[in-house]
């Protein structure tokens, strides 16, 4: 009975559905037929998405030689990239490569057919136009563009068949002082922080007219450029040789490299020559060289000066007093702010909970803390910061464990609440902000941070696949703290521990510099204008420019509750070329940071442009271009473009990603296909059944 009923019902349902199903199947068939045809039409103008190595065929091979000269705390680096064209066609080569974050790139030379051509600094778009015009006219041309603060591309046009063209890039770079020694870090492969071995076709976006017919006649063989990652490359791909001429000016206890095996030869007092033990190495990891002065010879300050085009430039490095001479631990007030909006749902909130629990464990007696969460509303665990005792910590742990992600992202009131300082207790106040950065009005946020930061410090912690690292970096800058990124669950513990080690070391804050000339004040342009806090062991480094050289600088700051000051007489110092470039580079960084705190974009652009053109620096808005004026490629010979493959950094997998563009596809087409497949299956089963 039941079965008969269900069969009758099924029959009715079936009759109602088969009609619809037939239409669906017909539609599906249409989609199948039309889809590929459309796709093919699209591909005709757009054949560039291959990441499987297409386009590799035309790539020249590359050999890099790096010569580093170190004088005291400054390195002058020359990178020679030799593009060899093994093919029968004329080719254009494009290479994406990293340089240190604070490199001041001021020189490009091209060795083309026995001639050495000096590059010129030009506004970015103009440089590109000049390069492309020369390329299309068959002239030799080289272009150096900045893609990010530490990612650059070189492009070389019209490399003759069977010949090589060399590009020489030079930059100035000041060295880091860490743990009682200097270190030089030279990235050799595009930094994982930005692109973990994934190809960077976007760096070449201007390079070809990917797409429409109107553009392709200007750009020969436009759509072939996709710098691929050679996932399994042998050592012969992109070999690098490195030599260092190290003139430390001090006797050294040791010269070591944590990254590569090196040979060190002592030339004379404080002068060493260093080479790679293996000669050539693949470009797959940063080159790190560190040296340490003999005990008792550690410098307490360094001064380098230059007179360039009538102005005085100086770079001052000053070691703060040893941490041992200071109170080891300053009591602090820690405010943990966590984003519990809907976008944090899933892994992100899990990571945030783990990070918060870890942070709570780091609190010691004498510390105070609070936890604030925000989604559509803002909610604080305590009405004001409480002592980090057993009772309050237990309460906080329960609160954190219970955090759920849902609702909107009202970050502004949360930021305001966190920065408001109700207890002028003299404690070091640190606000740690955990979010995926999917925020609303960032300009209002920057303003709130700049206005209300007071004596607090803001540390941003990025969670999840955070595309908004730029925002978080700038918020931290405005809050005079740092930005930390957690990119996978396993890293939470290590990353949070590192951040808190930094947070708990004594910090030299409120640094102010007063420059004097003789009896009066000196009019100087100091870069950076506002000196950042110094964490354990970091030296103070500032650059100045002035019409008349200052004779003395008074430095004042605070270690926790202890005032610190020091006067430095600016006589002597070593004269050294290129200090002006380091100053200009710092000024540029300062302007870019000022954009974050609300300065008008156009003002920033103009200021940076002017600095970069005057000091011949490659920047966001300026490029170096070198052009050989005689055309060499016959008009009837085609030019093939090839993007050079980059290596995956050692130990990196392509899936470890710093940030990603938002995902922009719904599963609707997939559901549609699966749905149709189910109906088709039902159809087949039904026919057998009847």
């Amino acid at each position: 009975m039941l079965r008969a009923e269900s069969r009758a019902w099924l029959g009715l349902l079936g009759r109602a559905l088969w009609g619809g199903l037939s239409v669906s199947l017909l539609l599906a068939a249409l989609v199948m037929l039309v889809g590929p045809a459309e796709a093919a039409g699209e591909q005709a103008g757009l054949r560039i998405y291959a990441t499987d190595g297409a386009g590799l065929g035309n790539a020249p091979s590359l050999d890099t030689r790096i010569a580093i000269g170190v004088s005291g705390v400054i390195a002058r680096v020359r990178v020679e990239q030799r593009f060899y064209n093994p093919h029968k066609d004329w080719v254009e080569g494009v290479y994406v490569f990293p340089l240190p974050q604070n490199a001041a790139v001021d020189r490009l030379r091209m060795r083309y057919g026995g001639r050495l051509i000096e590059g010129e600094i030009q506004e970015r778009q103009q440089a590109r136009q000049n390069y492309e015009r020369a390329r299309d006219a068959g002239q030799g041309a080289g272009l150096l563009e900045q893609q990010r603060a530490n990612v650059f591309t070189t492009a070389v046009a019209n490399i003759p068949p069977g010949e090589a063209v060399a590009i020489e890039i030079e930059f100035q770079h000041d060295l880091a002082w860490q743990d009682g020694g200097f270190s030089l870090r030279l990235p050799l492969v595009v930094a994982p922080r930005y692109i973990p071995g994934a190809p960077m076709p976007g760096a070449l976006h201007g390079f070809s007219a990917h797409g429409w017919a109107g553009d392709t006649d200007q750009v020969p063989d436009a759509s072939q450029i996709t710098p691929p990652v050679a996932v399994s490359a042998d050592d012969s791909l992109n070999p690098v040789t490195i030599t260092v001429d190290l003139n430390a000016g001090l006797d050294l206890a040791e010269v070591v490299s944590a990254s590569h095996r090196i040979d060190v030869v002592r030339q004379s007092h404080g002068h060493y020559r260093i080479g790679l033990a293996r000669g050539k190495v693949p470009a797959e990891r940063d080159f790190v060289l560190s040296w340490r002065p003999l005990l008792g010879q550690q410098p307490s300050a360094a001064l380098f000066t230059e007179v360039w085009e009538g102005r005085h430039y100086g770079l001052l490095m000053l070691m703060p007093p040893q941490a041992t001479a200071l109170p080891q631990r300053v009591g602090r007030e820690l405010v943990l702010v966590v984003d519990t909006s809907g976008s944090m749902h899933g892994d992100s909130i899990e990571q945030a909970r783990a990070a918060l629990l870890r942070a709570l464990q780091q609190l010691g007696p004498g510390d105070r803390f609070n936890v604030i969460q925000f989604n559509t509303d803002v909610h604080a665990l305590f009405d004001r910061a409480r002592p980090a005792d057993q009772v309050h910590l237990q309460q906080a742990k329960r609160y954190v464990t219970g955090l759920r992600a849902d609702g909107g992202t009202e970050m502004l009131p949360a930021m305001r609440l966190a920065l408001r300082d109700p207890s002028p207790s003299g404690l070091l106040r640190q606000v740690v902000f955990l979010t995926d950065g999917a925020v609303g009005n960032e300009q209002a946020l920057f303003e709130a941070v700049a206005q209300e930061i007071g004596a607090s410090r803001l540390f941003t912690v990025g969670i999840g696949s955070a595309p908004n690292a730029l925002f978080m970096t700038r918020a931290a800058q405005a809050g005079r703290g740092t930005f930390t990124y957690i990119d996978s669950g396993a890293q939470v513990q290590g990353t949070i521990d590192r951040l808190f080690r930094q947070l708990s070391a004594p910090v030299l804050t409120d640094l102010r510099l007063h420059w004097r000339r003789g009896e009066g004040d000196a009019a100087v342009q100091q870069a950076p204008v506002q000196v950042a806090d110094l964490y354990a062991g970091e030296p103070l480094i500032v650059a100045v420019a002035a019409d008349g050289a200052p004779t003395q600088v008074d430095v004042a700051g605070r270690f926790g509750t202890v005032d610190w000051q020091q006067s430095v007489t600016l006589s002597g110092g070593a004269a050294l070329g290129g200090i002006h470039a380091l100053w200009a580079r710092r000024m540029i960084d300062d302007w870019l940071a000022r954009h974050a705190s609300g300065e008008d974009g156009e003002v920033v652009r103009q200021s940076v442009l002017q600095l970069a053109l005057e000091h011949r620096l490659v920047s966001r808005y300026t490029s170096l271009v070198a052009i050989e004026h005689t055309p060499v490629r016959p008009a009837d010979a085609p030019l093939k473009s090839g993007a050079l493959p980059v290596r995956l950094p050692a130990g990196w997998s392509a899936s470890a990603v710093f940030g990603r563009l938002p995902g922009t596809a719904t599963p609707a087409p997939l559901f549609l296909m699966l749905g149709l497949a189910c109906l088709a299956l039902a159809w087949v089963l039904r026919r057998r059944w009847i």
Partner: protein
């Protein structure tokens, strides 16, 4: 297999199939309806009425309006580009320049709903972007390229003054997790 089992199997696959088709239809329907309500919210905003969510409980806010005359596309752009926001409209990528500013403005949308029309764009096509205060900036499409999802440099707010629209690529892809993005770049026109 017994007839009873077979009939149950047919019924199950039928229900499953219809469910999937309904879900597939629901996503574009939601996208369409949301744009309709957002357009009304936008008009209210331009008329100077106090800001209200486009529908009760909505946790996103309209930020700009994008218009392309040749394809007769008018869409309200939302603030942010999380999956939650993109279900209802194209989203302004936080961290890029804001609509109305002179800088690199980046807007993303779903390839199979709101931004399906990007594939139809041609060199020279006009795009206008109206920001919340009623100012309108005009752009001309200059090029399109396919990029990796890892290229967050595309979002740099201080890059040259331009409008970037992007969506997942390929357009007819079946699986949502593609690492490729189709990026249309448009350069500003004089007022």
């Amino acid at each position: 297999m017994s007839t009873a089992w077979r009939s149950r199997l047919v019924l199950l696959t039928l229900i499953g199939g219809i469910g999937l088709l309904l879900h597939a239809a629901y996503l574009p329907a939601k996208a369409w309806l949301a744009q309709h309500l957002l357009e009304q919210a936008w008009q209210r905003r331009l008329a100077g009425q106090p800001a209200q969510p486009p529908w009760p409980g909505a946790d996103m806010r309209p930020l700009a309006r994008l218009h392309q005359p040749r394809l007769a596309v008018t869409q309200v752009v939302l603030d942010g580009a999380s999956g939650r926001v993109l279900a209802f409209g194209p989203g302004h990528v936080t961290g890029s320049a804001l609509p109305g500013e002179h800088g690199n403005i980046v807007i993303s949308g779903h390839r199979d709903t709101h931004f399906h029309w990007l594939r139809e764009l041609q060199d020279g096509d006009l795009l206008t972007l109206e920001s919340g205060d009623g100012t309108v900036r005009r752009y001309a499409v200059n090029r399109a390229a396919v990029h990796q999802e890892t290229e967050i440099g595309l979002l740099d707010p201080l890059a040259d003054d331009q409008l970037r629209l992007f969506t997942c690529y390929p357009f007819d892809g079946l699986y949502p997790g593609t690492p490729l993005r189709y990026v249309v770049t448009a350069l500003p026109l004089a007022m």
